[in-house]
Amino acid sequence: MARWQMLVEQLLAERGSRLVAYAALLVGRDGDAEDLVHDAVVKVFSRPRPLCTVDEAEAYVRSAMPSIVIDKARSTASKRRALTRAFERAEHTPDIDAGLDVRAALRELSPREQVCIVLRFFDDMTVPQVAARLGLAEGTVKRYLSDARAKLLPLLDVTAWEEDQEITVVVATRRGDRHA
């Protein structure tokens, strides 16, 4: 068995639940989340990469997911893939109740809004980092975050988070500390 194949099996055996849970934040439904994990694994491992540990592999696979979500919204090819693999798993993978209210709320967002929210507030990335990751303009990311906030506030009992301007200040301060 090839090394990459062993790593895939080890990755999903040890981190499958966490990967699916993370993917579920991005797509909302457990069945779709499994497909997203599948797509991310295929994308990451279909090219030779210097991956040696499960931690590295998990990080790679997670980082591949957001752009896949956005691409899926555009690509007709992804729809064909979805049809092809529909027979490969139970027709309706039931959503697990745990945390479902949050995922249900996230599903109310557009794919780009949902991805931006997760990268910004779950992965704790800055707006510039989100923009770079997704290949979007920073202004576009801010708009998605703003629109997402407007949709989520009535759905989730959450406090308003810091404004984008405040985020920028925090980043600048950290950089200053590092170079001090």
Partner: protein, 525 residues
């Protein structure tokens, strides 16, 4: 009131814990991920260059008088004959015949084809264990004759499928162009089992084709004449818990599809069960074991050194169809970026040669939104997509030589075509997207410059610019929605080095590797 970060984190943790506590096994997910990764690796390694060639052929001419358009005929035109033989050794291979094959009629089963993901080649295995590494034909398929005089397309990566048919089993009656192939299903998951010789009056071939519908969607409807008078035939789906779903087949009836009709989660086998007039039963069965995908039956000889391209002697031997006397060497391993012949000019952590900047007719720019691919067709490249416009020189050459000489490493592909019955013009093309920081190459894009398959974009806008050049303008798309996101640092560079790097496209064109003319250009914003 809760903080959104805490809400997301809490949802994630509770969901992950619940998935773990629910005892969810990710074995199935791992199996199909591994399978599709293997296919994708094979696709990238073995088909990318041929797809590019096929696409370019389509660009240049619609009538392929020289290289042949397939057509499904049995006759071997000279071009096809030349590319179907390959002298390179694949090492030890299993015969890979159906289980209990000895009960099959003599000569009935003629072989199996599959993609060896390690070497990136389509290989054909005949029942006696003879293995042939099948090189791509000029029109992008993999033509092969199992020895019965029928030329079959073993794989069609030129077709617009995400996961093109990669493997198949062939019987004596599967003719060229009308093959019995497992299509998108993983053939490794299915094992043909014929428990006993077919009784008198049972037409194995007809029943085989009928059951094929279950796997492939293609085949023949049930013919009651395939069984003796008084016999009936049931379709059976058997599950691991011992349960069986059965249904009688009627004249012309199709067997259920594993894609649409059958729950494959606990499926163990599908079968046609014939009940003869005397009450005795005989069946043809396909066993399903998706969790036990075997290792590849071929173990290619590992590369013994740095990349090499076939010598003139080897190429000549391949072109002549000579299978004897050739050296056994694996010259076709897929290499890391910047490890092929281009490494004589471009190296990681080294500056691209200044005198080669903009030395060719190649431009590259970032694009966003809808871009014109072929008037009036547009494609949404998202944001930060990369468009590469190429006007490449061509040389009159033999397509097989062109393909044989193309290094099977990242960034290389053969390009060419002909107009009608006119001469074939082609070249070897090298295209790679890299990151340049402080004048040196620090990273390589993770997507090839030409990625026809991923984007579903054909290069229909190009055409002859002059008799010996081809304008591929608009036909090349490097990536869509974030080329920067695909960059990988090379050498001792780190991700931080990529942050402020400029994108550049490396390129080269030539009639053969030693004659390549290289250049590079920065990507315009």
């Amino acid at each position: 009131m809760r903080d959104l970060r805490e809400v997301l984190q809490g949802s994630f943790e509770s969901h992950a814990d619940a998935l773990g506590n629910a005892g969810r096994s990710w074995g199935g997910l791992a199996a199909r991920s591994t399978r599709d990764t293997r296919n994708r690796r094979a696709w990238r390694a073995g088909a990318a260059s041929t797809v590019a060639a096929a696409a370019a052929v389509g660009i240049v001419a619609t009538a392929m008088g020289v290289v042949g358009g397939g057509g499904g005929g049995d006759a071997l035109n000279p071009a096809q004959r030349l590319v179907m033989d390959d002298p390179y050794s694949l090492g030890e291979c299993a015969a890979y015949v159906p289980a209990n094959a000895e009960v099959l009629p003599d000569g009935y089963y003629i072989g199996r084809a599959y993609v060896d993901s390690a070497s990136g080649f389509v290989v054909a295995v005949t029942p006696d264990g003879t293995v042939t590494r099948v090189q791509p034909g000029p029109n992008g398929d993999y033509p092969f004759d199992f020895g019965d005089g029928h030329l079959r397309s073993l794989s069609r990566p030129d077709l617009p499928n995400d996961m093109p048919p990669l493997v198949g089993d062939y019987t004596q009656n599967s003719g060229g162009g009308d093959i019995w192939v497992d299509a998108a299903l993983d053939s490794y998951a299915w094992t043909r089992v014929v428990p006993a010789p077919a009784p008198d009056g049972v037409n194995l071939d007809n029943l085989w084709k009928t059951l094929a519908i279950t796997l492939t969607g293609g085949g023949a409807g049930y013919d009651p004449g395939a069984v003796p008078d008084g016999a009936t035939t049931d379709f059976v789906a058997g599950y691991t818990d011992g349960r069986e779903d059965t249904g009688a087949l009627l004249n012309g009836g199709a067997t259920p599809s594993v894609r649409e009709d059958i729950d494959t989660n606990a499926l163990e086998y599908v079968a046609l069960r014939v009940t003869l007039a005397d009450g005795s039963k005989w069946e043809l069965r396909f066993d399903y074991t998706p969790e036990n995908i075997p290792d590849l039956p071929c173990q290619p000889t590992p590369p013994s050194g740095p990349f090499e391209w076939p010598s003139q002697e080897q190429t000549a031997a391949a072109e002549a169809g000579a299978s004897e006397g050739a050296t056994s060497t694996d010259t076709q391993a897929m290499g890391e970026p910047l490890s092929g012949p281009e490494s004589e000019v471009f190296q990681c952590e080294a500056p691209p040669p200044a005198d080669l900047e903009n030395s060719g007719d190649v431009t590259a720019r970032l694009a966003s939104g809808e871009v014109m691919i072929s008037d009036p067709d547009t494609f949404d490249v998202g944001e930060d997509g990369l468009m590469v416009d190429v006007t490449a020189p061509l040389w009159e050459m033999d397509p097989k030589t062109m393909i044989a000489q193309t290094p099977r490493v990242t960034g290389w592909q053969p390009t060419g075509g002909s107009q009608g019955d006119g001469p074939f013009y082609g070249n070897l093309t090298y295209l790679e997207t890299v990151a340049v920081s402080e004048g040196a190459i620090v990273g390589v894009a993770g997507e090839p410059v030409v990625d026809w398959t991923a984007n579903g974009v054909g290069g229909a806008s190009a055409g002859y610019k002059s008799p010996d050049t081809v304008n591929l303008r608009g036909g090349f798309i490097a990536a869509f929605n974030g080329i920067r996101g695909t960059l990988q640092p090379c050498g001792y560079a780190t991700s931080a080095d990529l942050a402020d790097a400029q994108l550049a496209v490396l390129y080269g064109f030539g009639p053969d590797v030693p004659s390549m003319s290289y250049g590079w250009t920065l990507v315009a914003n």
